[in-house]
Symmetry: C2
Subunit: 225 residues, 2 copies
């Protein structure tokens, strides 16, 4: 039996937990192989000062059954990089599942994969989804056909479990959830802007306004859109 | 002003999310520097096929204000490695906070740091805590003096936010929680054995029995205990 090939696309300045959260879950998908794919074999610097070593380059990566693109500030570079976008588009054409976490949605978008789709992304970037032809659905995980998008950063863990449940069944997903003791107890009820105090949102407003401007500009000058 | 030095100790076959979850949170602690510390500069293979690049070796790591040891199957090797245990013990002697996630608790334990302490670890290994002189407290995060231990894998995210709240205040922790959209929506209510179906626990029983045997043996032959 051939293995189910899961591939994560990584690029400089990704938000590492967008990737490492679902990686921890999907690496336990039975009868699967996990591929960590980058432009070259050189370790990829993440947002946290942690370098991540790819297992494959775009050239050596086998055809993927599931492609997952994480997000982070590095999506500005990824959107503008023809080689990255063409790899995503090429793999997505034959993948069973085309997925993203956080602002990885805009990399899918730059590859033309969200056109006419319902999708989600990090809450601070949701208003930009129409720029890549998508309609924002306010949810932590959105499935439209074979495209599954997840919200910001930690939503990648919920996403990973949902994907395992879809591919391998609920029992397998439940066993993985128990294994990673995913019984979250956030110290505050402020993980979504609908529930966060105004003062907390105000602390982040300028940073995200600036970050949105960067993503908007990258989309507008995208060589592939 | 000197920076608050946060250090994660990584070793082969760690469970990468034990480390990358709290890393994502603690890397945003204001006025801090994050150090990813291993025995050598060589990338460290994690449980998911992902290689992690250290920023420091035991020799080059500065004195840490907070040391965090993640877990995973690799703790068997770490417990048996005098150089690793001595690094942890030496840093812990002057650190403000001595912490672990998941079975990283047993690395602290092998360094003699849990003797007489209340502590927690991954649910499947809780019964082994007395072997390192600790009393298990059934909680996702346990603080006893300057020692903070967290439960299995994903509890490291809750732990990271709790630590930020303690060091930098609740407002800062809340802003980080909103930034990483930590508004978890686990697909199943089975992330803790108290709530998981018996059939799911049975699926994991043999694997954890074998893993416990390995950790028990490593503790019993520990050169430092």
């Amino acid at each position: 039996m051939s293995l189910f090939n899961v591939g994560f696309v990584i690029f400089p300045q990704l938000t590492q937990l967008d990737f490492t959260g679902p990686l921890q879950v999907l690496a336990r998908l039975p009868a699967s192989a996990t591929h960590i794919v980058a432009k070259s074999e050189v370790p990829v610097p993440s947002d946290c000062g942690l370098g991540l070593v790819p297992t494959h380059t775009f050239a050596t990566c086998p055809p993927l059954d599931l492609i997952c693109v994480p997000g982070g500030n590095g999506v500005v570079g990824a959107i503008g990089d023809r080689e990255t976008i063409e790899f995503v588009r090429r793999q997505a054409a034959t993948a069973k599942y085309v997925t993203s976490v956080c602002t990885g949605a805009f990399v899918l978008g730059a590859a033309g994969l969200l056109n006419g789709r319902r999708a989600t992304t990090h809450w601070a970037y949701a208003e930009l989804l129409p720029l890549v032809g998508a309609t924002h659905e306010k949810a932590r995980i959105v499935k439209d056909g074979n495209v599954i998008t997840a919200g910001g950063v930690t939503s990648g863990i919920d996403f990973g479990l949902a994907v395992v449940a879809e591919i391998a069944g609920e029992t397998v997903a439940q066993a993985i959830q128990l294994g990673i003791e995913y019984d979250p107890a956030p110290p505050f009820d402020c993980g979504h802007p609908d529930r966060a105090p105004e003062a907390i949102k105000a602390m982040l407003a300028a940073r995200y306004e600036s970050a949105r401007t960067g993503v908007r500009a990258a989309i507008s000058r995208s060589p592939t859109l």
